[in-house]
């Protein structure tokens, strides 16, 4: 901690783990309404250690994190901080004790600046007035200290990317002199490239002796980042092990008792792509340009790319949310002019949106009401008759709920997503666009989504699949289209590896990015030699509007992260 922050620096902790734990949990348990959700949990967190907390949704990770954050109080067991038994009366008390938590929902004010957010509630004062100069200077120093000098203290948080907002959250935690920072799925909303930013920051925090409790569904990150892994299952502590002593297959088996090999369902060989169901011909608007895509019946086409590369904008364009102003859209071979989601539904389209809670569900309504939403809105006369299929669809998706009258806000993320899927399936779409359908849901529910995608294609539906998780893109797609800076950067066949997709998405090794490049199999081996535009062709997009990534800072495909 530098002298510029508002409180006294603490003595720096010794580098790597091995010394006394800062935080020690013994026999912690928690019940909600008589349901035991955590039983007898032991956990040691040491300075400079990145400690992964893994387990399926419902395993108790979130509850454990909330206990450590001071949101919940444990019903049993003890929490020791620096060897002294404590209880955190509130999140704020935990924060002042040096335990900060970065939740998935950002605790930031989008209309306020970075500095105002970091020092919210403890603005430095001079003569009774807020000392803005000092607040900005301290924030700038803190950012520089964490290697984030590119982030300006006066930038409005709402104008930052998701990754940068997350970083502001972490900076805020550091400004509290946090010695333990818990992160709840910090990469859930980030594309792979942005994850790099987070990795960098985690490493810096580690060097400073901060202990990090890292909750994630992404195995790759756990193995890349974490020193120690603790597995929870059904509220019980199953295993704590150094990362070096376990491999991903065994970890997945420990978490779910399921083999990693069968993680993605295989394609049914009898499913052959049929006629073109959805065709975009040179579509564009202010966010995307000159995009041509064909999706055939029975085909899964993945749309990959970095956060902000225009994938969601394509989905929104197709569905008439922010329509295209150029080019043509054809559904089932006929040109359609979709100007609203309602027209999209009538044309036989379905869109599972990226943000389930804000755009996919009426949270205070029942499962059944949600599943009927589209029917009621678009074909009210037939809604009752067609809604009879909903229970069958829900049970085939293996929805777990006490009844169909349960309000969806009380369901887990995975079950909520199943309700969203049911809502669209009952409309019998010709084309379904899935925007990040597995974000923030547990392994079992992910598997259900993958199975569903296979079933849909087997019955002749065309699937456009937008995802930031490269493993699922590569495993599920018949073809992978990669977007970069609002344009298609290229197309890859099934079976391409993650590195190739990433290279296209980042524009690694390319000087010009204005051309739609079709990569043939022979060129895949050497991504540096992708056919680009003519030398001297100045048709590339303006670099100033690029997302959180400058292609020229990268000299090759991502490797061994």
């Amino acid at each position: 901690m530098t002298a510029t922050t508002t409180r006294e620096p603490r003595p720096p902790a010794a580098g790597e783990g091995g010394d006394e734990p800062i935080l020690r949990l013994r026999g912690v348990g928690k019940e909600f309404f008589g349901n035991s959700v955590l039983r007898d949990i032991d956990l040691d967190v040491r300075p400079g250690e990145v400690h992964a907390l893994v387990g399926e949704n419902g395993a108790g990770k979130s509850t454990l994190m909330k206990i450590i954050a001071g949101v919940h109080r444990p019903d049993g067991g003890t929490i020791e901080l620096d060897g002294e038994t404590t209880t955190f009366a509130s999140p704020l008390a935990a924060q002042h004790a040096g335990v900060s938590t970065v939740f998935q929902e950002f605790n930031l004010l989008p209309e306020r600046s970075v500095a105002e957010n970091v020092y919210l509630g403890r603005e430095p004062r001079r003569a009774g007035l807020v000392d803005r100069r000092r607040m900005h200077a301290d924030t700038t120093a803190l950012l520089a200290d964490l290697g984030l000098s590119g982030l300006a203290s006066w930038t409005r948080v709402g104008s930052l990317s998701v990754a940068q907002q997350q970083i502001v959250e972490i900076v805020k935690a550091v400004s509290y002199d946090a010695r333990i920072i818990s992160m709840d799925e910090p990469t859930a909303a980030l594309a792979d490239q942005e994850v790099e930013l987070l990795y960098e920051l985690v490493h810096r925090l580690k060097e400073r002796g901060v202990a990090i409790l890292y909750v994630s569904h992404r195995l790759k990150e756990i193995f890349d980042l974490c020193d120690t892994i603790t597995v929870l299952k059904d509220g019980n502590h199953v295993l704590t092990t150094p990362t070096a002593d376990i491999d991903p297959d065994r970890l997945v088996r420990t978490m779910v008792g399921r083999d990693f090999a069968g993680y993605f369902p295989d394609k049914d060989p009898s499913t052959v792509p049929g006629e073109v169901r959805l065709a975009l011909e040179g579509v564009g608007n202010t966010q995307v340009d000159d995009v041509s895509i064909e999706v055939r019946a029975g085909e899964i086409v993945a749309l990959a790319g970095l956060q902000g590369s225009g994938r969601t904008e394509i989905a929104h364009g197709i569905f008439g949310i922010a329509g295209f102003t150029r080019g043509r859209v054809l559904v089932g071979g006929k040109p359609v002019d979709v100007r609203s989601p309602r027209q999209a539904v009538r044309a036989g389209l379905a869109l599972v949106t990226e943000d389930r809670k804000a755009e996919g569900l009426a949270l205070g309504q029942s499962i059944l009401a949600n599943a009927r939403l589209v029917l009621d809105a678009v074909v009210p006369g037939q809604a009752d008759r067609r809604a009879k299929r909903i229970p069958g669809i829900l049970s085939s998706l293996e929805l777990v709920a006490s009844s169909q009258e349960a309000e969806v806000q009380y369901l887990s993320g995975g079950n909520q997503q199943k309700v969203v899927l049911a809502k669209w399936l009952v409309t019998d779409p010709q084309v379904i666009v899935l925007d990040e359908p597995t974000r923030g849901i547990d392994v079992g529910a992910k598997r259900a989504v993958y199975d569903l995608m296979r079933e849909l294609t087997a019955s002749g539906v065309a699937v456009l699949f937008i995802s930031s998780e490269l493993p699922e893109v590569v495993a599920m797609a018949d073809r992978v289209l990669v977007m970069r800076d609002g344009r298609l950067a290229g197309e890859l066949p099934a079976g391409s590896d993650e590195e190739t997709v990433m290279a296209l998405a980042t524009g690694a090794g390319e000087d010009t990015s204005g051309e739609h490049v079709r990569v043939d199999l022979g060129a895949l081996a050497d991504a540096d030699d992708l056919p680009g535009a003519e030398p001297g062709d100045a048709s590339g997009p303006p670099p100033a509007t690029a997302p959180a990534l400058d292609p020229h800072d990268h000299d090759g495909p991502k490797e061994d992260r």
């Binding site: 209309e111 940068q164 509007t545």
Partner: protein, 348 residues
């Protein structure tokens, strides 16, 4: 390498983000200038002078009355609350002030204190009902307003109390064409600006309005902040009541029918403050008040039918807020990657 990545985006976005942020207040004042020019020309065509001393004074007097109320309303709306009782508070405090003064010059300060004190008490009740009883602000302040209305209607059939001549100066004295009341209003505005942009309670109002949970998790006493905003709101309305008393020479219960409650909300929103809270400024509010006052003066000078006047005011308020809403809904347009042209936008 990743550090470099972090630097790329904010540099690219900083400029447009800052420009957009400054825009809100700027637009209000640009609109004000535009309206002044158009109005000046319209009045000149009719053979008058919008900027004559009499017209300017009228305009500014209108400004100060609504100004006090709207400045107060800004605090409430910034906290994602609102106050529908301000009209009744104005009426109540005009009566409390005038009856306390009872025509005695030595009791002027006592009357001022009483009026402001009663207003503050009403604000405290508003704030506590909203913060502690968790009653929606709309309903809470409507209810408190009705209670005051009932009291006023039963106790005061007409004017009540008497304001000494020395205090009537507050209503009528001018420095050049500028009424003293306007100067006082601008001073109150200045205090409000400092409060919002330079003090912790002000910062915390933005936080409470932006996201109450975030504010609470950051250790802000959100209830206290909300109550403070409502007390300030009512106190400002109380000062407006004193201005009414100074102008009329007595307190008057019927002032509540002036529509100051909704006008103040209109002025605040016209001034670029989000009705959803978390963003806004006093400077913008003063601009919004000026726009409404200019319109009012012009309509008066041009002798516009009062009903048609309301139609025009309604249209202008809706148009302005629709303009802001467009800017809100479409933040992406300012970050447009491709120009909406037919030719493909490659040559940006």
């Amino acid at each position: 390498m990743s550090t470099a990545v972090a630097t790329a985006a904010p540099t690219a976005r900083r400029a447009p983000a800052r420009r957009r942020r400054l825009g809100s207040t700027e637009i209000v004042y640009l609109a004000l200038v535009g309206i002044l020019v158009i109005a000046g020309v319209l009045v000149a065509v009719g053979g008058g002078n919008l900027f004559s001393t009499a017209n300017t004074a009228y305009m500014l007097t209108q400004t100060s009355l609504l100004g006090f109320v709207a400045i107060g309303q800004t605090f409430a709306i910034l906290c994602k609350s609102l106050d529908l009782s301000v009209g009744y508070v104005v009426a109540l405090s005009s009566i409390v002030g005038a009856t306390t003064m009872a025509g005695d010059p030595s009791r002027v300060w006592l009357g001022v204190l009483a009026a402001v004190g009663v207003a503050a008490a009403v604000g405290l009740v508003n704030g506590l009902v909203i913060a502690k009883l968790r009653v929606n602000a709309f309903i809470a302040t409507l209810g408190v307003g009705l209670i005051i209305k009932g009291y006023l209607d039963t106790q005061f059939k007409g004017p009540a109390g008497e304001v000494p001549a020395s205090f009537q100066m507050f209503g009528y004295t001018r420095v050049g064409p500028v009424p003293v009341s306007t100067i006082v209003m601008l001073l109150v505005a200045a205090v409000g600006v400092v409060l919002l942009t330079r003090t912790r309670p002000g910062y915390h109002m933005f936080a409470v309005g932006g996201n109450t949970d975030v504010a609470r998790l950051s250790g802000i006493r959100t209830d206290r902040t909300l109550v403070l905003a409502h007390v300030l709101c009512s106190v400002c309305a109380g000062v407006a009541g004193l201005l009414i008393a100074a102008r009329f020479g007595t307190g008057n219960a019927l002032v509540y029918s002036y529509g100051l409650d909704l006008d103040s909300i209109a002025a605040v929103v016209l001034g670029g403050t989000l009705l959803m809270g978390g963003r806004g400024s006093i400077v913008g509010t003063v601009g919004g008040v000026l726009i409404l006052a200019v319109l009012d003066t012009v309509f008066n000078v041009l002798d516009v039918d009062p009903f048609f006047k309301d139609v025009l005011r309604g249209v202008i308020i809706i148009a302005a807020v629709a303009l802001y809403a467009r800017r809100q809904i479409d933040p992406a347009s300012s970050r447009a990657r491709f120009r909406p042209t037919r030719t493909g936008g490659a040559s940006a």
